[in-house]
Symmetry: C2
Subunit: 210 residues, 2 copies
């Protein structure tokens, strides 16, 4: 299902992440990852590790410190725990993503959905997908949760997990600033996507196209 998204000459295939699952893959420096919400109102948890040394990992704390705001969008950079830029948000038609919360897990499912069958969540899906790269479950930090809508009330500090504002076909594009291992999911938690489970699409643009 190749689509002409950005007027590029050469377009790579779109890859589908089925609902409630996850994957991991290499993203070379200069390549751009386009994460697409094909049906709207779905979330994709994104992790990044330095491919040459997986102890260097995406860091919400460093990123929010440098960005000085919590709602990241085009022009913002995602930093590692070593203060290096891992990803640069080069395009974003949604403008609302979360970088406060850790991927949902078996334990968070039991907590938030006591009446549902617990699911291993994006945490379990990421742990399995990252295992072949030598990345253990304990190394999963706060994810950059594409399309996740977590508004914060500034006065009370209250946060809410609301349905995403992304519409069908909306996307965010992130260019790699170093060789990376990426973990990416199609969200498993009812609250994050308005109670529906849907796939996520992604596509990788070669380097030097932007």
């Amino acid at each position: 299902m190749p689509v002409q998204l950005f007027g590029r000459r050469q377009v790579t295939d779109i890859i589908e992440i089925p609902e409630r699952s996850g994957t991991a893959f290499r993203l070379a420096k200069g390549e751009t990852l386009i994460v697409i919400d094909p049906r709207g109102e779905q979330v994709a948890d994104l992790l990044a590790f330095n491919a040459a040394d997986v102890d260097e990992v995406i860091s919400s704390g460093r990123t929010l410190d440098y960005a000085e705001h919590i709602y990241l969008t085009k022009g913002d950079k995602l930093y590692s725990n070593r203060s290096n830029v891992m990803l640069d948000i080069v395009e974003d038609v949604v403008g609302r993503h979360d970088f406060l919360l850790t991927p949902c897990s078996f334990d968070t499912f039991k907590h938030f959905y006591p009446d549902l069958e617990p699911h291993r969540g994006c945490f379990g899906n990421l742990a399995e997908a990252l295992d072949p790269y030598g990345i253990g479950a304990d190394r999963i930090p706060v994810a950059f949760n594409c399309f996740m809508n977590v508004p914060v009330d500034g006065a009370s500090g209250r946060l809410r997990v609301l349905p995403p504002i992304s519409k069908a076909g909306d996307h965010i594009a992130l260019r790699a600033e170093m060789d990376l291992i990426i973990g990416l999911t199609a969200c498993s938690a009812p609250d994050s996507n308005g109670g529906t489970f849907k796939p996520i699409h992604y596509r990788i643009e070669p380097a030097q196209t932007r």
Copy 2:
């Protein structure tokens, strides 16, 4: 300098963390750590690791998810990356702490204070203090930053680092829910404490006093 803070019969000595430095120590399950701002408007970055397995570590993402608010205070619990409660906030006379930002480092100093001599910051101080416990610098996550005042504007998402609202002698008390390695600092960054560098005091109450 022992002080009677809570009407307890037996009071342990207060330990001083000198300005712009850090320390690490064991805190047994049931013991309560009292972090005191002796002069007011100073910040103490706090980290916690499971003493039996340091791959289990304090997690802002899990904690904020469970708490459903970003300004943690009495009654809130600090969770690990494995969804276990590490610390329980049993007393808090300040009510404003930060759990969004990673401890400042040599790199963040260069970024935010280009005209000052860079300092290794709480990150460097914690890395040195935690090294004897087998905890490397790459394992330092978002800290629970006691007294750090980081209001978030809910509409724009903008965050600001303002002077703490803590007054001289104010404290927060956290009871350990498992055997822990604690990292604790007296903040090194001008913005976090209104441009002054001051010590932090702490005290450990034995178990079963609360």
